[in-house]
Symmetry: C2
Subunit: 201 residues, 2 copies
């Protein structure tokens, strides 16, 4: 009943199997969250033996780290973001975040990472390091703004909140709001956090 053509075909190579496990893991982490994702569940969904999952990835934390790793080089993204006009950095960053959520290479990774950060310190640390320290702090500093760490953290709060509200909590109408409208709505917030006044007088 559960036999599939794939099982009957040629045995997939090692790197394909590894990739299959990784893709399945990413989907599980994004949809179920960290705590409810199990190596056994991933193995079942990927139709491989659970021992094979352990063979490729030594444990859930390692598997998560690789599955949720953001597929970008912070230095490259940073220089691209800093290349345009300073007064449009909010829009460029909003576009970058939406790109990351929608591109096939990264679909689900940012969601998995932010979902997991609610319970897993390792995921929270990835956000602090990969998103904040390696990207947002140098971005705020590169824009010549004082208080770069505070600006970066506020920027991160809106990015994290947008992903939470749109993809995890599902606050209507955000899940169905068009990309253009969303980027335009959020851009001035990111712009002010990165370059504008931080008080409301």
């Amino acid at each position: 009943m559960t036999a599939t053509p794939r099982r009957a075909g040629r045995r997939p190579g090692t790197s394909q199997t590894r990739q299959l496990i990784l893709d399945t893991a990413r989907r599980h982490f994004a949809e179920l969250g960290y705590d409810r994702t199990t190596l056994r569940g991933i193995a079942t969904a990927a139709e491989v033996d659970v021992a094979l999952v352990s063979h490729f990835f030594s444990g859930k934390q390692r598997l998560f780290a690789e599955a949720a790793a953001l597929p970008y080089d912070p230095a490259v993204v940073l220089s691209r973001l800093l290349a345009g006009p300073r007064e449009q950095i909010g829009r460029r960053l909003a576009d970058q975040v939406l790109d990351l959520i929608e591109a096939p290479a990264s679909r689900g990774r940012l969601i998995a990472l932010i979902r997991a950060a609610a319970s897993e310190e390792g995921a929270a640390q990835l956000i602090r390091e990969r998103i904040n320290r390696e990207l947002l702090v140098p971005l705020a500093a590169g824009l010549g703004s004082p208080d770069a760490p505070l600006r970066a953290a506020l920027t991160g709060s809106q990015v994290v909140g947008l992903v939470m509200a749109r993809h995890i909590v599902g606050i209507d109408p955000l899940p169905g709001t068009g990309r253009e409208q969303l980027a335009a709505a959020v851009a001035p917030t990111l712009q002010r956090y990165l370059t504008g006044p931080l008080d409301d007088v």
Copy 2:
């Protein structure tokens, strides 16, 4: 070894025991997240039999719903928020959110709720209903702004993101940022989402 003076004293009344379980549950949900909180762990920490936890609260979901229930009447908060000047609603809402996080009666509840929303649909639903539909949507509508649902959802994204960044992920320097500075930094964002232009032209 584990005997405490409390055990030797007068047996606490039913309502005190119930309250003790509830306070312990709130702390566990806020610190551990939904999935890692167990009835047994709560019972152990509260020094009561796990059967007593089940007696008062029929299961983890019910216990969570009560532990994370926000201790306010949306109608009362709403009329208070709408009472002041329209152009200062962002600041009043920022103050309200920070009050909620800091007041003893609600300390931990908002954090527990948002942390749990990452994995537990019941918690996500509480946010959509109690925070968004009963408070933020009527607030945006009461301010006479068009597109009230989108405005409310964007507002919710920043509120959720602030709690995530400051209390759950811990993006420095937000955990140590003073209340006044934080309210001032976030207020213009909430103000624009609720009453300002939603595009960045």
